[in-house]
């Protein structure tokens, strides 16, 4: 019984780590998307208009 509880807790911790990693990935992509937009604005102002 105890081993089942330990295993459930370990699995929970692993899944939370995985979820936080996913949220971290989204944060990185958000920053990259903002960088892409800033890059686009600079390119537009310099070469496209």
């Amino acid at each position: 019984m105890n081993s089942q509880v330990d295993s459930a807790r370990a699995r929970h911790r692993a899944e939370v780590r995985q979820a936080l990693a996913e949220e971290g990935r989204l944060l990185v992509w958000e920053l990259l998307s903002v960088a892409a937009v800033i890059g686009f604005i600079v390119i537009r102002q310099l070469w496209l208009v």
């Binding site: 509880v5 459930a8 807790r9 699995r11 929970h12 899944e15 939370v16 995985q18 979820a19 936080l20 996913e22 949220e23 971290g24 989204l26 944060l27 992509w29 958000e30 920053l31 990259l32 998307s33 903002v34 892409a36 937009v37 686009f40 604005i41 537009r44 496209l48 208009v49």
Partner: protein, 501 residues
């Protein structure tokens, strides 16, 4: 007197400019919402979760769902969850197909885990069906948490466990999951829905987690604690077409938190035709009108007990709810400016579309990164979500010189004379496009109704899927103003959901 006339003229012009810029409000609000997503890494509910497995009753409303129920029940029973802590209650809403036989066969196959409840009088809508099941489930104290779902949705094996972990925190009353479009192979419309769900669920609901106020628990994936169900009166609101949104609001008004679990995935089959999609979305949109009116005392009234009255939540809600109003006001003001002060109209038009272009670029890039699997499947629909014409206007705004050169080159090779009249017509279409795109997208539905369904994709790609939803919202205003009957048009499901899990 002359000065007063001049002052009034200036006031009129600036009012028109402000009205034009209203057209950018929904996209700017969406950008703000998307910017909150990154904060979800810092402001989340995971630190208050634990390996918690309450006894879960799964409530499945079913009306003529024989085609999908067998697979759904098998999947539910096979969830990664202790079997002795799981029961499936199928409320058969007076089905006339093989639904009773399918459920009874499953009840024999999984004794004690599958329960068949039958309503002799059906067709009153999902909320009545749910309440029938709720009365039975609440009558004994076995259930600690209740999962409300749709008969056709398929839960990933670990999804329920990922949802229940949030209920370890007693402040949480309800949890919802990320519903993904699961039809395979699926058609163009289902790929549009797949992309829409990234923006409306995976993105928007994460942002709402950060704000601390959730707009809607997905109808196909609502997990409630028993305490929450009792706090909201032990039943689902039957007076509207948006029973899930009412439940979401009532939960938060009862002082309980609502959490979106973006890593719990649930697959659903969405309509493969515009007429079916229109009926489904019109029901949702009319429900939103009813919610907006019913909870009118909440909007923009910050409250200590819940965040539904916060300014930010109100802005996000109304930027979508009033989308058609913003679009029509913007186009009308632009066209007026065109005749009153053309140089100013051209300046404002370009500023409006530069804002739209930047917003579109950011939202599309980020949304595709949020769900890479859906992005691989629906990238074209993501790019063309606002419609081909809007994308062309965005391209022109971004690179006017290159765009004009391309148009001239195209004109020379096709023999199209690009004279002043053509330019003026193109300009008037571009000015009015924020409104015009809605009837163009609506023609896609009309084509399907007239048996010319092959034309529908053309109208949707041209006018845009976003504008189609906008047209639905506009229609919902009219239906509600007319007090049209609240009919529950069931979405036809064929069991085409296929997932690898």
């Amino acid at each position: 007197m002359v000065q007063l006339a001049h002052w009034l003229a200036q006031l009129g012009l600036w009012t028109l400019v402000a009205m034009v810029l209203l057209g950018a409000v929904p996209l700017v609000a969406a950008v703000c919402q998307f910017l909150l997503i990154g904060l979800h890494r810092l402001r989340h509910h995971y630190r208050d979760t634990s390996a918690f497995e309450p006894r879960v009753a799964i409530l499945v409303p079913a009306w003529n769902e024989a085609a999908v129920l067998e697979a759904s029940i098998d999947r539910l029973v096979g969830l990664e969850y202790s079997p002795d802590r799981l029961r499936v209650y199928v409320v058969d809403d007076a089905s006339t197909d093989a639904t009773p036989e399918v459920v009874q066969a499953k009840a024999r196959q999984y004794p004690g885990m599958v329960v068949h409840l039958r309503r002799d009088k059906g067709g009153q809508g999902k909320a009545h069906t749910l309440n029938h099941g709720l009365r039975t489930i609440l009558a004994d104290d076995w259930m600690q948490a209740l999962l409300i779902m749709d008969a056709d949705v398929i839960y990933e094996p670990d999804s329920l466990r990922k949802m229940t972990r949030h209920l370890a925190d007693e402040r949480v009353g309800a949890v919802t999951a990320y519903i993904k479009e699961g039809s395979r192979p699926g058609n163009y419309l289902q790929r549009f829905v797949a992309y829409e769900y990234i923006t409306a669920q995976a993105a928007a609901r994460r942002a709402q987690n950060v704000l601390g106020a959730l707009a809607c628990l997905a109808g196909g994936a609502q997990l409630h604690s028993r305490a929450n169900l009792e706090a909201i009166g032990g039943q689902i609101d039957t007076s509207s077409l948006a029973e899930d949104t009412f439940t979401t609001f009532n939960t938060q008004l009862a002082g309980n938190r609502v959490v979106f679990e973006g890593n719990a995935t649930v697959w659903a089959e969405e309509p493969d035709g515009i007429v079916g999609l229109w009926k489904q979305r019109l029901r949702w949109a009319r429900g939103n009108v009813q919610v907006t009116l019913r909870f009118r005392h909440l909007w923009f009234h910050p409250n200590r007990d819940h965040k539904l009255g916060s300014i930010s939540f109100g802005i996000f809600w109304f930027s979508l709810f009033l989308l058609p109003v913003f679009m029509i006001a913007s186009s009308a003001a632009l066209l007026t400016l065109y005749f009153v002060d053309f140089p100013l109209s051209w300046l404002v038009f370009r500023q409006l579309w530069i804002i739209n272009a930047i917003s579109y670029l950011f939202i599309t890039c980020f949304a595709l990164a949020i769900d890479p699997a859906t992005a691989r499947r629906a990238w074209l629909e993501a790019v063309l979500f606002p419609g081909l014409v809007s994308v062309a206007i965005i391209a022109y705004t971004c690179a006017p010189v290159g765009f004009e050169a391309a148009v001239w080159w195209w004109g020379e090779h096709t023999g199209l004379v690009w004279g002043s009249v053509t330019t003026r017509v193109a300009m008037l279409i571009a000015y009015s496009w924020l409104s015009l795109c809605m009837p163009i997208a609506w023609l896609g539905k009309k084509a399907e109704e007239l048996g010319r369904g092959w034309l529908s994709p053309l109208f949707i790609y041209l006018g845009g899927y976003g504008p189609l939803l906008c047209a639905v919202t506009f229609t919902s205003y009219i239906r509600e103003l007319r007090g049209a009957e609240m009919t529950w048009d069931k979405t036809i499901k064929t069991g085409k959901v296929a997932i690898s899990a």
